[in-house]
């Protein structure tokens, strides 16, 4: 009995040390981005097109004198092209200190903390769903589900092809 209590206490501790994620909306779904990769979140701004780039790259922006490439997650995920609204944001991601990249999202909702126990590994129910390559897990938060993005796979990985 005493042992079980101990375990409970430990579980709670692990939960409170869970990772923080920024929850964003793309289309109808919620995605989570590990906060340690997020450098900055900026409002949508003028994007300069870069010719002959991969089509999911919208171009480059000038962020305080730094040139940063901007990618459309919608296009990468094979969704409808972006519609820019007041809520549209560009999230600046830094995987490595010297190279930042921006990703366009429809809306930034909140920051949540998810412990190990509320994250499930992604299960491929449909083998043709290529979305799975971009996910590191699915987090439960309140009533909603948050697809947690494997951010390096999203940035470096291939474009999703719709079956």
């Amino acid at each position: 009995m005493a042992m079980e209590n101990m375990n409970d206490v430990q579980n709670i501790e692990v939960a409170s040390e869970g990772k923080q994620y920024i929850v964003v909306k793309i289309g109808t779904e919620q995605y989570g981005i590990d906060i340690k990769y997020v450098d900055n979140i900026v409002r949508n701004q003028r994007i300069t097109r870069v010719p002959k780039a991969q089509h999911y790259f919208k171009g480059v922006i000038n962020l305080r004198g730094e040139i940063i490439p901007v990618m459309s997650l919608r296009l990468k995920f094979g969704l409808e092209p972006d519609e820019y609204t007041n809520a549209t944001r560009i999230i600046i991601i830094k995987l490595e200190p010297q190279s930042a990249i921006g990703i366009i999202v429809d809306e930034v909702k909140e920051v949540v903390t998810l412990g190990e126990e509320s994250i499930e590994k992604p299960s491929a129910t449909d083998p043709t769903d290529t979305m799975i390559q971009y996910l590191s897990g699915v987090g439960k938060h309140g009533d909603g589900l948050i697809s947690l993005l494997n951010i390096s796979a999203v940035i470096v990985g291939k474009e999703r092809e719709l079956a």
């Binding site: 010719p51 002959k52 780039a53 991969q54 480059v60 922006i61 000038n62 490439p69 190279s99 930042a100």
Partner: protein, 704 residues
């Protein structure tokens, strides 16, 4: 101890020491008696050893230690500098450079032991100073090796401790007094900070119960914290194993103590045999460069070692970023300018808060002017910070020429001037290979053999010159030799034979134009080296590289007097003059260095050659490039009768870029657009315009 924060300093300083070692060795080879040089080398080797030791790079430390030993012998007059010694030392330097390269990549020195070099060094040191001393380092080596092997296999490192004759006597004495002989290995906790202090407490605890006979590393090193997390002891006591173990583990921050009976006798015999064999060998031929027995054992040990510890995994990215060392004065200037900037800003603030309208206008303009002068100075100063003397690239060349001279069997000398000339860091990083290429060319093919030179009445020793100097906004680097020069007729014939030019063309070409053919890719295959008086090895590669840096290269040659290659490089890459053009609604920058002229062309003047559009401009046929098509831009005015064409060149090749509008000339700062976007190399970067808008920079070299 966590030393990662010192890694950058270590790498910088190691580079400096290695360079100074290399320089001094070159001098030493010329003047074997030069005591200053010997002292200098000794000092550099010594600091290197200390630094490597502190950082925990054992192999590097060992190699430098042995090199230092050799110089100790030379310094004390026990031996003289011989050419073979210098060769071995140079090989040692190369090995050290390899360690450094590995550290730079992975922050680990790698697993190469370089036993061969160490053995040769020791053999030389011992061969000179008499066979008597030889068994000592050899034994030490075996000892080291045995220790390392046992360390890799199990925790009881003390089994690797070797015993000298003197100590053997004490063993016997101890036995006769019914004392137990224990081997002890003490492991400290990884978090332990005051290792020496803990070790001291361990010693103190042990001394209460018995006597410590021997320690590895030795007591002095332990006191100086020159050990990792463990040390081993040989210990005499009347107490039991358990009691000794308890006594040690009583000391805080001790992780574990391994205690066991120490089997001395077998070991002693074994070692003795080896030492005798060693001694016999070295007495036989005291000058042998490699004590074979040692080498064999060492090789075996090395094998075992590599089995025991698989090679460290290679990390994907270098452990250390690229750095520039900056003169403190340059930083002071920067600091001053920044404070001026703040003053200028404050001036503007006070004007805007000031109410009197009339004064405002004049004061405002004044402040803007002030601001302008500050930013211009700031720009200049920052550029200066990026500048690095070319020395850091060229100082490896004397060594290279020395090696080439030996390899080719030609006597030659390298004369360098202007090593202090400064270039942008990015250029410096790239310029090394092309220069090396040119120097090799000069040494290998430019200079005649010594016999030929004597026959021609030239001085026997060939000369190669490397001169760097600033020329306006450019830096020129000249690689010159006083060799045979380029035989223009041979090149001409070869070019005709190869089909590069027709005989008619050849008739009309000047010598200079013929020599320029050498930079064509078709002249760079290996089999032609011997045919074309030995010129043209990969010169096209050199040319491409230099042009990639925004520079150019030309060649002058006089038969019988030598040839010279002149490289012209821009002072800096980060800021260039560019022509801003408009295409549809987008703005692009074309580097001014690539632009020949700007022409207005009537659409009706465009001709078609093999479905490609060309124009005839003052006799030369120039292909047109419709930028809007290439860059996927909606043509703004498809029915225009007049086209604005920017004529650009890549080397001798011309092309006309069709643009919608010219905006004007502007100084732009080149910024990278990162590696994620893949834009088929047509975009060389981007720049930020005055209004914060981004303009992409067209890479003319890939467009043409």
């Amino acid at each position: 101890m966590d030393v990662s924060q010192y890694l950058e300093i270590f790498i910088d300083e190691t580079k400096e020491h290695l360079q100074s070692l290399s320089d001094q060795l070159m001098i030493l080879e010329q003047e074997p008696e030069n005591m200053d040089t010997i002292n200098e080398i000794f000092r550099a080797a010594h600091s290197l050893k200390g630094m490597a030791g502190t950082m925990g790079y054992k192999r590097m430390q060992r190699l430098t230690h042995d090199m230092e030993n050799v110089f100790q012998e030379i310094r004390s007059g026990n031996m003289t500098v011989k050419p073979e010694l210098v060769d071995v030392l140079f090989r040692g330097l190369d090995a050290l450079e390899k360690y450094l390269a590995s550290i730079l990549e992975t922050s680990d020195e790698g697993t190469e032991d370089n036993e061969e070099i160490i053995n040769t060094l020791n053999a030389i040191a011992n061969g000179e100073t008499g066979a008597k001393q030889q068994d000592e380092p050899a034994a030490a080596q075996i000892q080291n090796a045995v220790e390392e092997v046992s360390a890799a296999s199990e925790g009881a490192k003390y089994t690797g401790i070797t015993i000298t004759d003197y100590e053997k006597n004490t063993f016997e004495k101890a036995k006769s007094q019914n004392q137990n002989i224990f081997g002890i290995t003490v492991y400290l906790q990884e978090t332990c900070i005051l290792k020496a202090a803990r070790a001291f407490l361990v010693f103190k605890a042990l001394e209460e119960l018995g006597e410590v006979i021997k320690a590895v590393p030795d007591v002095q090193d332990i006191e100086d914290e020159k050990f990792e997390l463990d040390f081993s002891l040989v210990y005499f006591t009347k107490e039991s194993i358990e009691k000794v173990k308890a006594a040690i583990e009583n000391v805080s921050e001790v992780k574990e103590a391994v205690v066991g009976p120490f089997e001395a006798s077998e070991k002693i015999q074994e070692m003795e045999k080896k030492q005798e064999a060693e001694a016999a060998k070295s007495e036989d031929k005291s000058e042998t460069p490699k004590p074979a027995a040692t080498q064999q054992t060492a090789a075996k040990v090395a094998e075992k070692l590599s089995d025991a510890k698989p090679a460290a995994k290679k990390a994907a990215k270098p452990a250390v970023g690229r750095t520039v060392r900056v003169d403190i004065e340059k930083l002071d200037v920067l600091m001053n300018l920044v404070s001026e900037l703040i003053i200028a800003k404050n001036g503007l603030v006070s004007i805007s808060s000031n109410d009197s309208e009339t004064k405002n206008e004049a004061g405002f303009n004044e402040q803007i002017e002030y601001l302008e002068s500050v930013t211009t100075n700031l720009h200049e100063s920052v550029m200066k910070v990026r500048m690095v003397p070319i020395e850091s690239v060229v100082n490896r060349f004397p060594r290279m020429i020395r090696d080439l001279s030996k390899k080719l069997g030609k006597k030659m000398e390298l004369h360098m001037t202007g090593e202090e000339t400064e270039l942008d860091r990015t250029v410096i990083d790239e310029i090394g290979d092309p220069l090396q290429h040119l120097l090799r060319n000069s040494a290998d093919h430019g200079l005649e053999s010594n016999e030929e030179r004597i026959a021609l009445g030239k001085p026997e020793v060939g000369n190669i010159y490397l001169d760097a100097y600033q020329d306006g906004n450019n830096v020129n680097i000249e690689v010159r030799d006083d060799g045979a020069g380029i035989n223009v007729d041979k090149v001409r014939n070869k070019a005709i034979e190869k089909g590069t030019i027709t005989p008619e063309q050849a008739e009309n070409m000047t010598d200079k134009e013929i020599i320029d053919l050498l930079f064509r890719p078709s002249f760079s295959t290996a089999e032609q080296i011997t045919d074309v008086s030995g010129r043209g090895v990969g010169l096209d590669v050199v040319k491409t590289k230099i042009e990639g840096l925004g520079g150019n290269i030309e060649c002058k040659s006089v038969i019988g007097e030598g040839s010279s290659f002149i490289i012209r490089l821009p002072l800096t890459l980060a800021i260039i003059q560019a022509l801003m053009v408009e295409l549809g609604t987008e703005k692009y920058a074309i580097p001014l260095g690539n632009i020949q002229t700007i022409e207005d062309v009537l659409v009706s003047d465009i001709k078609h050659v093999q479905t490609k559009e060309v124009i005839n401009l003052r006799g030369s046929v120039i292909p047109l490039i419709r930028l809007d098509q290439i860059l996927d831009i909606e043509p703004s005015n498809p029915d225009a009768e007049n086209l604005t064409v920017v004529i650009v060149n890549k080397g001798d090749k011309l092309a006309g870029l069709v643009v919608d509008n010219l905006i004007g000339q502007q100084e732009i700062v080149i910024k990278s657009i990162g590696n994620y976007i893949n834009c088929s190399k047509m975009i060389g970067g981007a720049t930020i315009l005055g209004d914060g808008e981004i303009a992409l920079i067209l890479e003319v070299n890939t467009l043409v």
